[in-house]
């Protein structure tokens, strides 16, 4: 009984400590922060310190992370180990250090209930985390990406992990040739990405909601290169139609599993993805199909046909567009032609996506109606152009008629004024 009582009291004591600790932090929200006062006046603040840091604005004090007593302006008391002062954590301890709060759902609920609390767990599944555990001190820890004292939520444009800033943040390490050489990793990924279709869309066009930054494909806390088998799935999260067509295709099935073909990247690359054009498919000099398919094989012939289908439509579409411009310039009715061209354009865009079925018949299901629409648009444009000319001739004829009338009137008047002989 005595033993049970003893154990129970220890349990209650521990429980109260936990509650106290939790309460304390929340109370500190409005509490003193003598650390900041002294460090400020001594001009001894961390280099990256910003007063807009999310922890500071949430009312946390330096001591909430670094320990110690923030109410005392006496250095010995404030920074005494007795008061729990930990100072600057060692690099290898940083994930656990941040995780004291960020892995504690109950605690985080008080500040950001929507934020996940498994980042540390995820981190240790990442290459960074695995290497850190092995004692590698070069790898990224929380502060490498989030900074230590100017942390902001990812939606804040000032944040180092705001979508537009992510590529540059990753590039701090991944662009360091000396560091990357140690791991046999390329250091030109950022350069490639910046000029890629994704990079241009994100960094130039500022498409923060659509274009992917590094973390959209690699994950963030659990960052790893997508596995060979998951590349298609990763690209497929945004490129859904391409994914569905590819997965259902024979090529998609043949490429599954362990082989030299890694889904989308085999043709499109990974970091330097270029905006595709019709010459990618086919057997021409720029065609990617001919990297694997040789003259005479089925794939070669199919690629040739697909290219032909796309070219037929796009050539006709382009000439219809030129005619549309002419109709517009002549001031004739271009609206219905414009709408026809929108339909032809839609067929063309869809046909280009259907390329991922690798079937010329499927592509033709879209190009053939597209060609018909484009032809109709051209016909209508020709009618408008000829109508314009008819009007001009009409104007000419009207001018001549009026001229004749004037001459006739003139002669008549002249005759009237002449005295009878």
């Amino acid at each position: 009984m005595k033993k049970l009582f003893f154990l129970l009291s220890i349990f209650l004591l521990l429980l109260s400590t936990v509650f106290y600790a939790q309460e304390k932090t929340i109370q500190d929200k409005n509490g003193q922060n003598e650390c900041l006062n002294c460090h400020k006046s001594d001009e001894n603040l961390p280099d990256d310190f910003k007063s807009y840091d999310v922890h500071i604005t949430a009312g946390l004090t330096c001591a909430d992370c670094h320990g110690g007593d923030p109410t005392s302006d006496d250095e010995d008391i404030a920074m005494s180990k007795k008061n729990g002062f930990v100072g600057v954590p060692s690099r290898k301890d940083i994930p656990q250090f941040c995780g004291r709060c960020h892995s504690d759902f109950k605690f985080m609920k008080n500040y950001r209930p929507e934020v996940e609390t498994d980042q540390v767990k995820q981190y240790y599944t990442s290459i960074h985390g695995i290497q850190l555990k092995k004692g590698d001190k070069n790898v990224a820890v929380c502060t490498s990406c989030h900074t230590a004292h100017s942390i902001l939520p990812p939606k804040d444009p000032r944040s180092s992990v705001y979508a537009l800033n992510v590529p540059a943040t990753c590039n701090k390490c991944h662009g360091d040739k000396k560091l990357m050489d140690k791991y046999n990793l390329p250091s030109d990924i950022y350069k490639k990405y910046v000029n890629s279709v994704h990079g241009i869309d994100l960094l130039k066009n500022k498409d923060v909601t659509g274009a992917p930054a590094c973390n959209d494909c690699h994950g963030n806390h659990g960052a790893t290169p997508p596995g060979v088998s998951s590349i298609v799935n990763v690209c497929g999260t945004c490129h859904v139609n391409n994914y569905n067509y590819f997965k259902a295709s024979k090529m998609g099935k043949d490429w599954e599993g362990d082989n030299d073909y890694h889904g989308c990247v085999t043709c499109h690359n990974n970091h330097d993805i270029k905006k595709p054009n019709d010459s990618f498919v086919g057997v021409g000099d720029d065609a990617l199909c001919s990297d694997c398919h040789d003259k005479g094989d089925k794939g070669y012939e199919e690629a040739k046909k697909i290219h032909q289908e796309l070219t037929n439509l796009s050539t006709l579409y382009d000439s219809a567009k030129v005619k549309l411009i002419k109709v517009k310039q002549l001031g004739m009715d271009d609206i219905s032609i414009g709408f026809m061209l929108k339909d032809a354009h839609q067929a063309m865009i869809k046909a280009r996506t259907t390329v991922h079925t690798f079937s010329s018949a499927k592509v033709a299901e879209l190009t053939v109606p597209g060609i018909k629409i484009a032809n109709n648009a051209i016909k209508k444009a020709d009618e408008e152009i000829s109508d314009y000319h008819t009007r001009r001739y009409g104007l000419g004829a009207a001018t001549i008629a009026i001229l004749i009338l004037i001459i006739g009137l003139y002669l008549k008047l002249k005759g009237l004024n002449k005295p009878e002989a």
């Binding site: 869309d201 066009n205 498409d207 909601t209 659509g210 274009a211 945004c238 490129h239 859904v240 139609n241 391409n242 009715d333 271009d334 609206i335 219905s336 414009g338 709408f339 929108k342 339909d343 354009h345 839609q346 865009i349 869809k350 996506t353 009409g394 004829a397 009207a398 001549i400 008629a401 009026i402 001229l403 004749i404 009338l405 004037i406 001459i407 006739g408 009137l409 002669l411 008549k412 005759g415 002449k418």
Partner: protein
Amino acid sequence: MSQTRRKFINTILGIGGLGSLGAILYPLVSYLIPPKITEAKVNSVKAGKADKFKDNSYKIIKFGREPVILIKTVNGNFKALSATCTHLQCIVQYRKDLKEIWCACHNGLYDLNGKNISGPPPRPLKQYDVKIVKDEIIITR
């Protein structure tokens, strides 16, 4: 004035007069019976009767040179938005099953306020105003 001369002048006057009359009347008649062309620069279009429009359905309307998607939601509210997908300019549709706006080209999705919510579209769809005047649906810029 000789007989021939008078005849000649009268013929000239006849031809000139008739031609001029034609030149005046043709544009007049064409103005009164105009061909069926939509105006290019419009600020509002009529889109039919409101009570004939079924709930949870849509129509693509020609708003000058722009296609506009007019949707009647399940709650009977009208929404009009630009129908040109902000990704590669395909024409969007309303998906009755999803109750969202969908682009078939690359599976882009927008909510009923035009916000791009999934897939490749980079920007939202522009919204138009819809007014019902005496049961007539009027879409304005």
